[in-house]
Amino acid sequence: MYDFLIGPFVEFEFMRRALVGAFALALGGAPVGVFLMLRRMSLTGDAMAHAILPGAAVGFLVSGLDLFAMTVGGIVAGFTVALGAGLVARSTELKEDASLAAFYLVSLALGVLILSLKGSNIDLLHILFGSVLALDDATLVLIAGIATISLLTLAVLWRPLVLECVDPNFLRSVSGAGGPTHLAFLALMVLNLVGAFHGLGTLLAVGLMMLPAAAARFWARDLTSMIVIAVVVAVVSGVVGLLVSYHSGAAAGPAIILVAGVFYAASLVLGPVGGLRRYLVPGRHLEA
């Protein structure tokens, strides 16, 4: 049992690093994911994750697999698309989902094209699916830093963020904090995606944000417990995913996301709040 659960992390440094990285991604990303879900922006997160690619690719083109260049590139590209899509949606007849789709398709194609100019297929795989088993110190510090910033920012913005989701007109009537709060939240989303990009790659970066959030929705009725559950699901997915990958030799990033997917599916069926259970086990009606 010890050999199976603890041994890999004791024995190998890369496993410990991967574990720390997954924990940090879980802590920062899962709460952001819950808010994305409640604001009906789940697919926005996904689109934004693709949108980061051309920025990271330009960074790669300039200085190879360099943490700093790819991070800065990713953040710049992420913000550009987040603001650009928002601007197009607000100032034209195109709805936000359509303008995001347009932006992210162009971004993804552009990113892969830029990569193909210089990199090999291995580099492309690395960037699309990440390398959670090869996190160096600098990357870990970056991911942990992003998690710290996320948690602190969410603590500060909690009140206006919640109010902006429930009753935006009321918030606008009592305070001017709505606009800046929305922007800060978009910034958090981009930062977390860039962090997750290093560990899980462009295509899976949203995985540890959205799947735990969606799973938590089936277990909790109030926001605080929902976020706690999402974080726990994300952390456990990280540990279990790494173990599965270690023992089976499967790729680590997809293993982590798949474990989160299993949690989601289980919650969908078993969760007490608004899941399938009420159809599967209807039970007799109550007195009041």
Binding site: V156, R159, C165, D167, N169, S173
Partner: protein, 247 residues
């Protein structure tokens, strides 16, 4: 009598199309004013303009006596996301925003106030329920509790009685008359003409422009109502630029 609100040749709208057109007039302090008009008459738009959510396309809204923070606004219930997992208690507590702000704590005295507001609207025992589990009437009661906490001088209510039962309407009307007794200024958007005639002394009949404004029984005549409906049916996608300067 001092003015709580002044509209000076006010035009509000969306995408350059006016929804409220060249409105001029004064709402005196302590007025209880019903705002009535057909769908699309600009009633909600007017409230959004007053509260500052929407900027005027032209003209101005002045409320020199009343600070922005002293305006309480009840949006139409459809504009609230009732699937969001927030409890009745937290929703009502938002009424303390002006005093607690972004970060301020909520004192024990304020907790008492929150509980008092919740029981004043008859929602004791519902504190821990999430708003998704409330009926339409209960939700509207919760929003009125939030208004109680806001303790504002100017209160704007956008169709507060839509699809409520008679008991809830009469409970909420009691609150409104209490506010009126406290010399607060209240604007209330309504569709029920009989209710307006029975409960509200003054009425603004709006159909983008003010059709009539004054004592309710003088305003809500068959002739005025017909005029209002005709004025609202004209929306021209290719409208010319409006050159009128004053109403």
């Amino acid at each position: 009598m001092t003015a709580a609100l002044q509209f000076r040749n006010l035009t509000l709208g969306y995408d350059r199309h006016p929804a409220v057109h060249h409105l001029t007039g004064t709402v005196a302090n302590g007025t209880l004013l019903a705002v009535i008009g057909p769908n699309g008459a600009g009633k909600s738009t007017l409230l959004k303009g007053i509260v500052g959510v929407l900027r005027p396309l032209d003209g101005a809204i002045e409320h020199t006596q009343i600070q922005k923070e002293d305006i309480a606004y009840l949006p139409q219930i459809a504009e609230i996301d009732r699937t969001f997992p927030i409890t009745v208690y937290d929703l009502v507590a938002m009424g303390l925003w002006r005093r607690a702000g972004l970060f301020g704590g909520i004192s024990r005295g304020q907790r008492d106030e929150i509980e008092k507001a919740i029981s004043a609207v008859g929602l004791e025992g519902f504190e821990g329920r999430t708003i998704g589990t409330l009926s339409g009437g209960q939700m509207q009661r919760a929003l009125f509790a939030r208004l109680l906490l806001q303790d504002a001088q100017l209160i704007l209510l956008d169709e507060p009685f839509t699809s409520l039962d008679a008991k809830t309407i009469s409970d909420l009307l009691d609150l409104i008359h209490r506010w009126h007794g406290e010399r607060r200024t209240i604007l209330i958007v309504l569709h029920d003409l009989d209710l307006a005639r029975a409960q509200f002394p003054e009425t603004l009949l709006l159909a983008r422009e003010a059709v009539a404004w004054g004592r309710t029984q003088d305003v809500l005549t068959a002739e005025n109502l017909l005029k209002a409906r005709r004025m609202c049916e004209a929306f021209d996608r290719h409208a010319e630029v409006c050159e009128t300067d004053a109403a």
